[in-house]
Every structure is written in C-alpha cells, then in structure tokens.
Symmetry: C2
Subunit: 131 residues, 2 copies
Amino acid sequence: MARYSRQREAIRKQVSNRKDHPTAETLYAELKPDYPEMSLATVYRNLGQLVEWGDIIRIDAHGAARYDWVVEPHSHFFCRECGCVVDMPEADDSTLQDIRERFDGTIEAVASNYFGLCKECEEKLRKAIES
Amino acid sequence: MARYSRQREAIRKQVSNRKDHPTAETLYAELKPDYPEMSLATVYRNLGQLVEWGDIIRIDAHGAARYDWVVEPHSHFFCRECGCVVDMPEADDSTLQDIRERFDGTIEAVASNYFGLCKECEEKLRKAIES
DNA sequence: ATTACTGCAAAGCGTTTGCATGTTC
DNA sequence: GAACATGCAAACGCTTTGCAGTAAT
C-alpha cells in the first residue's frame, strides 16, 4: 500500500528527533535546507499519514496543530505567554478507570491539556512587576 | 467599559440555553430567524468577549471551536464518528494536586479531552457489522 | 507498467479585522 | 457627542485538494 519516500522518512525523523512539539511550518522550515524542493503540502500530507498510522500524534489546541512522536501516553501544558508546549505526566489513574466504566460508549484516547504560565514566563513577569 | 447590546445578550442567552456545545456558525444560524441582520462577525466578536470575561469557555479541538456556558469545571468527550461533544465529569483528583505541585510554573486551567465513539455511533456501527 | 508520492498553486474552512454606520451612555 | 458595537466584505492563518509530473515497486 504505502511506498517508501525520502521525504516521509525525513519528516518522521525530524519529528522523532525533537523534544518540543513542532508545527508543520516549523518542520518545513527545518527540513528546507536539506530538502530545498520539499513542499509544505508534502509535510502536511505525510504528517497526516503518520498520524493515521499511529507513528505520531497530532496535538490540537488554539492555532496551528503540533505534532509529537509517540513514546507513551502523556499530556501537554500550553503556556499562554510564550506559546511553548511542555510534556506532562498522564494523570494515570483510577479516575480514568472510573470514567471509562461510567461512560456509555468507547473512550479510545485521552488528552489532558493544561494551560497557564511556564516557569520562564512566570519569572519574566515577576521581574517585570518588581521593577 | 462594555456597553449593553441586544446582540450580545441574545448570544449569551443562546449559549446558556443549549446543552450541547455549539460552534459560532451554529449559533449564528439559530439566531438568524430572530435577528435577521446579525452578522457572523458579531457572533465571533461577542463570543470572544464573553470568553474573556469568563462567562463562557471556548473548547478547542480539531475543526471549529465550540462554546460552552460555564457551570463548573468539567471535561469533554468528542465522538470521532458524528462529531458530537458530550460533557464529562472532571477527573477531580489528587492526581491534579500532585501534578500541580510537581510543575514549575502555574497551571491556570485544565481541559481533559476524551475521544472515541459515543453510545449511538457505537450501536450504529455494531448493527452495520452484524448485517 | 502500475500506482503511490511529489511539487505547485489554488481553494477551503474557521476566524479576525478595517472601515463606515448605528447605538448606547 | 464620545465611545463602543454593529454589518459588511475583505483578509487572514492553517490546512487540504486537484492536477500534471516523478519515483518506487
């Protein structure tokens, strides 16, 4: 069905190498030097495929979607100031068990999103207020 | 600062009256009969304001944003088949306490998103397979 | 040879914005 | 009458799609 392609492998590698959570545009910009004629559409198409295959996950929030290499289930924190996305431990938990049992239907995935200020932005703001 | 407007009140009322989680377009369509000259931009602008004021919340996921009257903190389930959005109990929990304490920064809000098949779609699919 | 994958450009969707007009205070 | 809100249309950001050409099997 699916065929090998240099571009796709490059995209997969690029996502897996990064610890932050790049957008399609970011990946595109980073791949450009090595693959000058790669197009943004190709990035989007391949990200879509990789998501479909479960190799990566797509993180939807306000603005551009971000992509993440799947290691194990985890959640994300979004800083309202700088927009960074940080990995968070998954609320493991008996609570989820509980919710699952009580829900009429099938829960296939959970994504907990946390919003607020990251450490760096918190410090910046604190200093700005002090001065 | 903010001034009264018929449109805003209508929008606020419309969101608060609904138990599902309408998109801006949906609200617009519903308000159209009673407010024929209301524009979509007005719906978006007012939804934005109401979110800013904390009267309603904006639920971001794949596709159009949905809006929800704030009663108390809760989570949402998204059906991958019909696209419906259902309220879920918030994972209350000691886990969140724990995460908060361990996180360097400030968590201002949490939104747990569940994905899967709702009861209705599950049954439809089951019947489709059986036949 | 077949058929998936590519690049490019155009279109798509959801949302925001500029501007002239209307409304509220 | 000053400041805010509206309607309209145009622009926006992110993403998808149609098509003709290229590359992997």
